[in-house]
């Protein structure tokens, strides 16, 4: 049995440890009116290199897993859903809930403990807005820099997983059976963050504030299990949504699209 990821991820000492991260300490966030918790890991300040440029990152917290369905369900049930065919209007500062999905949002791949999939950037933005409102904290999706910094656990060393490392740490093409898998079951990275290099891609914002999907997913091959993988929304992600307008909440073909939250101090 492999108990630690050999090689790049585990052997590279983190630039600094969460325990040394000034005032920040890891915590568990309880979702309102539920028993669901998100484990938020304190991440220290540091720098990450994106496209050859060093980008500073301030301290923040990040969920140790991709957001599972049971957390998203609490949000979806927290108010009336958007009307499916009238989803174009809500106030800029309002919290809107997802419309009913045209398809099975979880595709029958698993629900409790499985990562949220098929969600649009709007959906995850609203989830964060709702969570912030309920907890009086600043939840959002990570910036691209935060995401990659967390994925690398602060290391700037190149990450190239061997097959054994990938098997131990990632859900990817060779072991995922063509679908998402339970979050938090593989070996985490050095900052105890699970599934950063597999299972689902994770929504983030780029330097311009635009949505970008970070990281590999369960369909990606070994060579693509790197923190630099990026994807942008394209019409194919909603190709089989048979409605017009297509859903603003659900990506009918975004079965590899999920998210995890960060919290700003």
């Amino acid at each position: 049995m492999i108990t630690a990821v050999p090689g790049a991820l585990a052997q590279t000492p983190p630039a600094s440890k969460p325990a040394q991260a000034g005032a920040l300490a890891s915590y568990a966030e309880s979702l309102p009116n539920s028993v669901v918790k998100l484990n938020m890991v304190a991440i220290p300040a540091g720098t990450v290199t994106l496209a050859g440029k060093k980008v500073p990152v301030k301290p923040f917290w990040i969920a140790n897993t991709e957001t599972p369905w049971e957390a998203y369900d609490v949000f979806a049930a927290s108010g009336p859903p958007s009307v499916a065919y009238d989803q174009t209007k809500f106030a800029a500062d309002a919290i809107a809930r997802p419309s009913k999905s045209y398809i099975l949002p979880d595709l029958g791949w698993g629900h409790h403990g499985y990562p949220v999939i098929n969600v649009s950037f709007l959906s995850v933005t609203m989830f964060c807005r709702w969570l912030s409102s309920a907890t009086h904290k600043k939840y959002r999706v990570p910036t691209e820099a935060e995401w990659e910094y967390a994925c690398r656990a602060g290391s700037s060393a190149p990450i190239k997983l061997t097959k054994a490392q990938a098997a131990a740490s990632s859900w990817y093409a060779d072991n995922s059976d063509g679908k998402t898998q339970l979050v938090g079951k593989k070996i985490p990275n050095a900052w105890k963050l699970y599934d950063m290099l597999g299972n689902v891609g994770e929504w983030a914002t780029d330097a311009d504030g635009k949505p970008v999907l970070c990281g590999p997913n369960f369909k990606d091959k070994l060579a693509d299990l790197t923190p630099t993988i990026r994807r942008r929304w394209e019409p194919a992600w909603q190709a089989t949504d048979p409605q017009l307008p297509k859903s603003r909440w659900w990506l009918s073909d975004g079965f590899f699209v999920g998210f995890r939250v960060v919290c700003e101090p």
Binding site: Y85, I103, L104, L107, G108, G178, A239, K246
Partner: protein, 432 residues
């Protein structure tokens, strides 16, 4: 027993021209084969301008560069206006949306006004309770028809629609049914292999459509003043059996259709079913779960599990057991046949576009598609399951052929009173 022909015989030019309308006559004068060229216009009417109908119109416009949308009809002006704005705003097809105020029709009779125009093609995408009368009227008006699934919400309506539409190709009209999986190429390959014996004889099918509620009924207290019973019910159509048919008919009919597909469209001999409602739904009278157990000759059986309750397990799959292996469609992307060898069928699913591409290609070529037979069978098999669930009786196909069930209101008045039938109680409700 089966009649699953996709296309009718090619028609002669003379036959074709005999049936064309004004636009066709004009083209005939020019000596062209009507519609044969991609540059010829095909005028389309959209009847039912909700999200799916608007999507169907976009698919139609994308399918053929000669398609123009000229007419729209709905009972709600707000739906039509929104749909029109969305379609006009579609980058690739918006320019071919030529609907004017004069060609926008609102009301319960809007479909008749739409059919009275010179359109060649109609897209019937209202709630399914209206489908039978729309299909019948569209056939009588001589239009090519795309009819969204299901074919209706009761046996009488479905029979009326089928009697009107059957032999569509012989009537020189295309009739495409919105049982869209039949236009999904990976699934075509899957069922073709099963029909060819890849898993031997089909012995048992387990189909699931286990999901959450679609459009729950709002409380009666939220009904705005001045909204009639009729409008209130149509606005919330998913919750009323006469309009929606129940979840088994409106949504899980796709799974019933795939059961029949696996069975080469041979209808079941009989079925029993259980069902009910666990989650209160205000004034709505549909169930939130129905499980049907179908039977064919030689002990071949199928189970259809349908649920619209938020739960921790969801599934929309088809599991087929054969005498020499098994096969399954798990979720929407995993198609596997485990016979002598394991065959995994990949491929993108673009069925909504495909069905319109084949629809318009069939009109262009004159090799007209007729899906009326299988649409009728799949819808009636679903209604058979609902009848068994609502009554607690064993229901035979023969009974369904003779069922007098007719849920459409005798007098439907936009401003009138419309009582809501009580939810069915098995053991108390009887076969009709």
């Amino acid at each position: 027993m089966t009649n699953n022909s996709e296309t009718g015989a090619p028609q002669t030019r003379r036959e074709f021209l005999k049936t064309t309308t004004v636009a066709g006559a004009a083209l005939a004068a020019s000596g062209n084969y009507a519609f044969a060229q991609g540059s010829d216009k095909l005028k389309v009417a959209l009847i039912g301008c909700g999200g799916r109908g608007s999507g169907a119109a976009a698919d139609a416009l994308s399918a053929d560069p000669g398609v123009v949308l000229t007419v729209m009809a709905d009972v709600f002006k707000d739906h039509l206006d929104r749909s029109l704005a969305n379609l006009k705003g579609e980058p690739s097809v918006g320019k071919r949306v030529e609907v004017t105020a004069e060609n926008s029709f609102i009301g319960l009779d809007a479909y008749q006004k739409a059919l009275a125009t010179n359109v060649d093609v109609v897209l019937l995408t209202t709630p399914p309770g209206f489908r039978p009368q729309h299909i019948k009227a569209a056939v009588e008006a001589g239009k090519h028809i795309f009819a969204e699934k299901p074919m209706g919400t009761d046996a009488a309506g479905v029979r009326m629609a089928y009697e009107a539409a059957k032999g569509a190709a012989a009537k020189k009209r295309a009739f495409v049914a919105g049982f869209c999986w039949r236009y999904d190429n990976p699934r075509r390959e899957f069922y073709k292999r099963i029909h060819e014996g890849a898993i031997g004889q089909v012995r048992h099918i387990q189909a699931t459509y286990l999901t959450g509620p679609v459009k729950p009924m709002p409380p009666a207290s939220t009904r705005p003043a001045g909204v009639s019973d009729t409008e209130w019910q149509i606005r919330n159509w998913y919750n009323f059996v006469w309009l929606c048919g129940d979840g088994l008919i409106e949504q899980a009919c796709h799974s019933v259709d795939k059961i029949l597909w696996a069975m080469k469209d041979e209808p079941p001999l009989r079925c029993v079913a259980t069902g009910g409602r666990q989650i209160p739904n205000n004034e709505g009278n549909i169930y939130d779960h129905i499980d049907v157990f179908y039977e064919w000759p030689d002990g071949v059986r199928a189970t259809m599990a349908q649920r619209q309750i938020n739960c921790d397990y969801n599934d929309n799959s088809d599991y087929i057991v054969g005498s020499k292996g098994h096969a399954f469609i798990k979720g929407w992307n995993q198609l596997e046949i485990h016979g002598d060898a394991v065959v995994k069928i990949p491929g993108p699913n673009r069925m909504y576009r495909q069905e319109h591409e084949e629809f318009f290609a069939s009109i262009r070529s004159g090799k007209l598609i007729d899906n009326s037979e299988r649409m009728w069978r799949s819808t009636l098999a679903g209604l058979m399951g609902r009848m068994a669930a609502y009554t607690g009786e064993e229901i035979t196909w023969e009974q369904m052929l003779n069922s007098k069930e007719n849920l459409f209101p005798e007098h439907l008045d936009w401003n009138g009173k419309l009582a809501i039938a009580p939810m069915a109680i098995p053991g108390k409700n009887k076969y009709v």
